[in-house]
Amino acid sequence: MLVLVVITALAFDFTNGFHDTGNAMATSIATGALGPRVAVGISGLLNFVGAFLSLAVAATIASGLVDTSEVTLTVVAAGLAGGIIWNLVTWLFGIPSSSSHALIGGVIGSTMAAAGGSAVLWHGLVSKVVIPAVLSPVIAALVAAVGTWSLYRISRSMTAGARSHGFRIGQIGSACMVSLAHGTNDAQKTMGVITLALIANGTLAKGSNAPFWVILCCALAISIGTYVGGWRVIRTLGKGLVEIESPQGMAAESASAAVILLSSSFGYSLSTTHVATGSIIGTGLGKKGAEVRWNVAGRMATAWIFTLPSAAIVGAAAYGLAHGVGGTIGVIIDLIVLAALSGLIYWRSRGSKVDHKNVNVEWPDGAPEKVPAETAAA
């Protein structure tokens, strides 16, 4: 059963990397600063390195959110299933959601279904997940706004061509930092869950850090996911999004990388999606004449609020199913349902294939947009 849980967790990690390549690399691919293959390669590699940087977030997930003495393997498996299902469903419908919150919500939901609300460490949940989720986009927006303003101020006497050329180079650097930050924050969430499973199984003592093989597996899963690349998301972000100039891109990416890295080292489990969005809004605020589409931002914020409780409900339902059937068989049935749903969603998304060959083809004018461009960052 432990093996099943670990495999499920790594599958979650893989999709996590897969979805989020675009957050870091889309603008660099779109401006031609990096070739598509090269970009996802670098991003994958840096995600791998980033995963080794810090263990603070993994510790939060493993021991800061739920009472580990109440957690069983079935609970972890059901929580993961909840997270993955909510993640894939929202992805299919283009609803922006945070993979981190889906995962945390799933685990909390299944814990509550198994052991009641008292097994959830509400203080840890609010202070390490909910409050950072509210504050981080605001801080990122502030940093990006200051950055954007000063970049334009300093470079205002340069020719427009030289400026965009120069900042395209800078963007490569800042995009690399976002990839690194992503590995540091997101790979750790899966490490945390696997550690939770190992504690539940009695393999590890309560309060342990993630062992080395767990770090290695998570790093590999997220970097392979990144390398395979969410071309669909990259294309939407890089081409469908209103064109961001390269100084704005660099300011947004630097702000995201700084906020994610700093917060990770304090053990806050942020959503890279939330931070990246905050930064993009910030670059809009920092540049004269640029407008921020607050209605889009408002829609996204609504979706963020729903992610935690919804994933919790799916996680609780998954626990109910697994517990109702009982034992390993119950978990296997959960996973079969999960695999069937994933297959269905993959099949639904095959309709229009996007890969490294056509990722940069011009966005056709007047084509029906499947999702509002900015919301595809989930």
Partner: protein
């Protein structure tokens, strides 16, 4: 038991501003000094300036300043990553 860790919050804001906005600003300064010099004037004269993407202006002081800015940025990133590694690997609690 406080709900918001103010100590962490101000650090994230201040260091976030220094690293997330200050370093790109330094990069912009580097680009600007790099662009100073005779070639920039010539490039600007040739095609009206706006479309020129000539990066290196040719001024020696400008190039030195640009290299200095780049070095500071790389050093800051390296130091930051080292600090995060130190914080992120606490001794295992027994």
């Amino acid at each position: 038991m406080s709900w918001i860790n103010l100590n962490a919050l101000w650090k994230i804001v201040v260091f976030g501003l220094i690293a997330g906005a200050g370093l790109p600003a330094l990069f912009a300064g580097g680009l600007y000094s790099l662009s100073l010099g005779p070639k920039r004037v010539r490039a600007a004269g040739a095609d009206g300036g706006a479309d020129s993407d000539v990066l290196v202006g040719g001024s020696v002081i400008g190039m030195v300043l640009a290299a200095l800015a780049l070095l500071i940025i790389l050093a800051a990133i390296g130091w930051g990553i080292y600090e995060i590694y130190q914080i992120g690997h606490p001794p295992v609690k027994k």
